[in-house]
Symmetry: D2
Subunit: 342 residues, 4 copies
């Protein structure tokens, strides 16, 4: 019996990515995909890649039927208002918005500048990054999605943080345009956005809250720059270590952290063109490519992580969580290796 | 005494391009640039390249003062409603919208599906492509701008049309995203528009009306495809000739048509990477690059024209018209050669 | 027992795409991937997406072992010299070069300007486009790959050609940079190739030979223009019909031709942004998206086909042929729907 | 009498950019442009934008005639070998390679791993960034060009360095593909380079030598990442200040440093889309756009500088130096404001 999955808010980009993943998932079935504005229209009206891959049409959110897993792809702030009702529809709810990412309500208030509408739910939600919380995800009832920028930071820094090696970190993050979602705006207008190198978030404070929750109270800053790319995040974390380290130790730390991880690859080659992580090769893949280099003059560590923001940074991690919560093979439906060249 | 120039609707892309050209024009002066929504703001709020190049702020359209030349960059359909009033403000009015491009009011009605608000003005307007109507432009009072797609077709085909060589022509036109103007929309949203190869106008009918007015009643069709590019048009016209022609004759025809033209270059090299017209090298330049090849198997002529839609296809031609109307050197303010690589 | 597959020349782009497809194919196994220059190196040295997806290293071509199917990804002209020897290694050989695409040796001589090294093999080779030759592929011993530009033309025009509707056709083809293969050259240098709109083949003669072999002796011309894109072909075929047709008849012809085809989709929507075929949504997918429009003023038919040149235009079709030749489900290993946005 | 200028090595990208600038310079004349491989060919064979803008052909380097100013655009390491001879040809020599950027021969040896072929010349060369050494440039005989990455770092940090505010700086630098020059290579192959986010220089050590020479012995690191762009550099410098600063003080420091500079603009808006420096709007312009933000949580300063690597980072600064050395208006020939959108 496949896992019966439904999506609220399926017309956006993460909703579309979930549709794609669930439609080709060996152990799941997409049963409903809601969109208030597109009721009755075929999925491919918004997601042209799905033409011919599904006979489903968008349904009205109010007609939601019980299912095994319910994915929420609503605007930030919506799911937390409706969670009490929505959680009744499914054994597991996975929310891809920011609503349930922070457990500490004081932090939530600080960064989102409002009271959380449903703090009890927020406190029990499991953060949906298997590399951080695999065991808890197996029994989770409510799973929060991950922020894509936070995920790139978390996976770049996790081995260093665990080893107590981070004295100071600055994450310089490069992102593609799909991060902004499917809604058009002046800043996403192609003539303006094309080839922009736009520092749209010099501080990235909200993302840091997620990182500190995951890695501990680090001294970490972030700056986010939009570049010419649709999918993709590269986090370049510049780290001052608490003590001198050598390459060999870093190899050991990263291997220990990630060798058992099905989706994390260490990219640190000495030959060829692909020596360090690059999101270019990750579109559609659930991989997080992680790498590191030591600057021999200053001792600085450069720790990198590249992901597809819509996969490992959103829908891919969410499906990975579903796999864990339902006892399916963790990589089921997530084995696409990405394209090259593309 | 420089020509005193003002722009109505200066916040859009052609308005911004006019600002740029006029601010560095040796014989003109930009005195007013209006924008209802940006009154009091510096030009660089919308046109970041102009930061530091002008102390002007956007002014309210109602405060328009008399000037020598008035450029109209209003939405299509607006200038023809206000022309009776606007023409009082300046010795010469140059309208960059489509309102005054067609002289035949039946054609106008057919393609724009409405009566023209000011047919007397339309009949006296001079079509603003110097390669077609240089002499009339010298005495013009009202000059219509050109369509960028029509301009690429006109300049690709003019020598063939004059020689009566066109039996049948199909113009396959590739365009960049700036053609759509500064207003954001779902179809210009970067994730959707980036690397699209979108046949958004399979027929291009309105543009053909302009071509037929210029070149005579040809059998010509057009198809327009949006590609990854911000500025630029390439018209690839596939022409069945009325009789066999050889390369030598085509060289002669194109040379006769264009050797005296300051902005038309014949691009037909036998070596190197730049053998035929390519809009890539034309951004910011007022050149129209024109080329031709004969398919020796079928006798088809491939006639090409590449332009920057915002320059030769809009603001550049408009300034060229201003130069003619005021007896200035025709190339004044328009000598930027374009960038390579870019 | 999976089909045991090997690849000669696996370091190029089609070789890499075949590696990707075979590594995730449910019924096949990649056993050898040869590359003279990369012997002993992991596949991901050239194909970074495959990192972690295979422990295989490139092997020397001379060490080729017997296998069920052998894919040849050699430079054009090489496989026909070695075919007598290579065909002994496998039950089925699929050659992705141009060597065995033409059955008529006079045509081969004309376009490739040399005698075919192995005309007997060329005469028995089956053209590897299942939409044209599915039945013969089931028993084929030697299968030729398809040209990507020819495939886009063939699938755009097939229903019209079968109905005898083509009086004259001009194919205006837009292509991405991966068509040129993995070898760097001055014309593929990023600063030169980026955003180029370069008419590098005004006639496309060789490609037309493939089309005429498939569709009959049509009056057809082609012009090929490189645009900013890595993967993708859009063929815009402008067709003068032999008699007037209406939309309903075209719908019927395209449906008859393609309704049973697992990979051809008819794209002709009246709403949304995705009304006609666009290669943007096809990267990694084996779909051919086909559409058509009638120009009501001239009666011209615009027939379009978009493909990923590396998939339906090369490696995807080749795997589809393998599936047919080995009695596997035709879509096995080819179900990836493409990404959106990307 | 215009300044008579010649260029050695005019077929490369900086050579082409110099041709463009000199051909439209009001007070200079391009008299010779040498290229060993293209002798006798028109400039537009390599620089297609210059078609119709010059009748000059590439000449053989050995036929170099005396001139007023000689620009050297040779491969790194060449000019220092030939400088004794070349300096006889012109009153002023401006070398755009790295050969004369460092005055300290120990530093040169350390970063270039060889002895300098002409240390006496190196010691007298003036570093060609007018913002650093305007007065010395007026009397200079030998002027060294600037590194584009170093220039972006220098101008981002200069006001902070002068005020003694930099405790620690990390420069995260994003660059376009033209930085690599006109020579094609596997890593510049369009399918590989397009949309790459490739950390090709995790340390940027050589560039730092130039920065330390200019700003003093700072604790500064750099990481360089290639992104999708042809022209452009954005330096994002993350600075730990030696003491807390506020926005007002930074405004004062940047204004003091740059208010008299003709090409440096402070970009720090509170509204609109263009709040911080972005190289997107700088192609073809000699501007350096500089901005700064304080991270109020950590006190970190984010100091940014965007330039066109071929203009302010190479040919533009070189012409600015020529202007100074010959007593011309400093901005002569350098007033192009850049394009928007583009």
């Amino acid at each position: 019996m496949p896992v019966r999955a439904s999506i609220i808010g399926a017309s956006g980009y993460t909703g579309g990515e979930l549709c794609r993943l669930l439609l080709s998932h060996p152990d799941a079935e997409l049963v409903q995909a809601t969109s208030r504005s597109l009721v009755g229209q075929p999925l491919h009206r918004m997601h042209p890649n799905l033409r011919g891959h599904s006979a489903l049409t968008f349904s009205v959110p109010d007609a939601l039927e019980p299912c095994d897993v319910l994915f929420l792809c609503m605007p930030h702030g919506e799911s937390s208002k409706q969670i009490a009702r929505l959680i009744e529809h499914a054994r597991v709810v996975i929310d891809l918005a920011a609503d349930f990412r922070l457990r500490d309500m004081a932090e939530y208030r600080k960064w989102y500048e409002q009271e959380h509408p449903c703090p009890e739910a927020a406190r029990t939600a499991v953060y949906g990054l298997p590399e951080l919380s695999r065991d808890s995800l197996r029994d989770a009832r409510l799973i929060s999605g991950v922020g894509c920028n936070a995920t790139a930071m978390n996976l770049a820094l996790l081995p260093l943080a665990r080893a107590g090696l981070i004295d100071r970190a600055i994450a310089d993050i490069k992102v593609g345009s799909s991060e902004g979602g499917a809604e058009a705006s002046q800043s996403s207008h192609h003539p303006e956005r094309s080839r922009a190198v736009r520092t749209y978030s010099p501080w990235g404070h909200r993302h840091l809250a997620e990182v500190k929750q995951a890695l501990g109270d680090l001294r970490i800053d972030a700056t986010i720059t939009a570049i010419e790319m649709v999918r993709g995040v590269l986090c370049t974390a510049h780290v001052e270590p608490t003590r001198p380290v050598d390459d060999k130790e870093l190899w050991r730390l990263y291997r220990e952290a990630y060798n058992a991880e099905p989706f994390v690859r260490i990219v640190r080659d000495r030959a060829g063109m692909h020596r360090l992580p690059d999101p270019k090769v990750l579109a559609g893949s659930n991989h997080a490519d992680v790498g590191f280099v030591i600057d021999e003059h200053s001792g600085r560590i450069i720790a990198l992580c590249a992901i597809d923001n819509m996969m490992k940074g959103a829908a891919g991690s969410a499906v990975q969580c579903m796999n864990l919560a339902f006892g399916l093979p963790e990589t089921a439906g997530l084995t696409f290796p990405g394209l090259h060249p593309a």
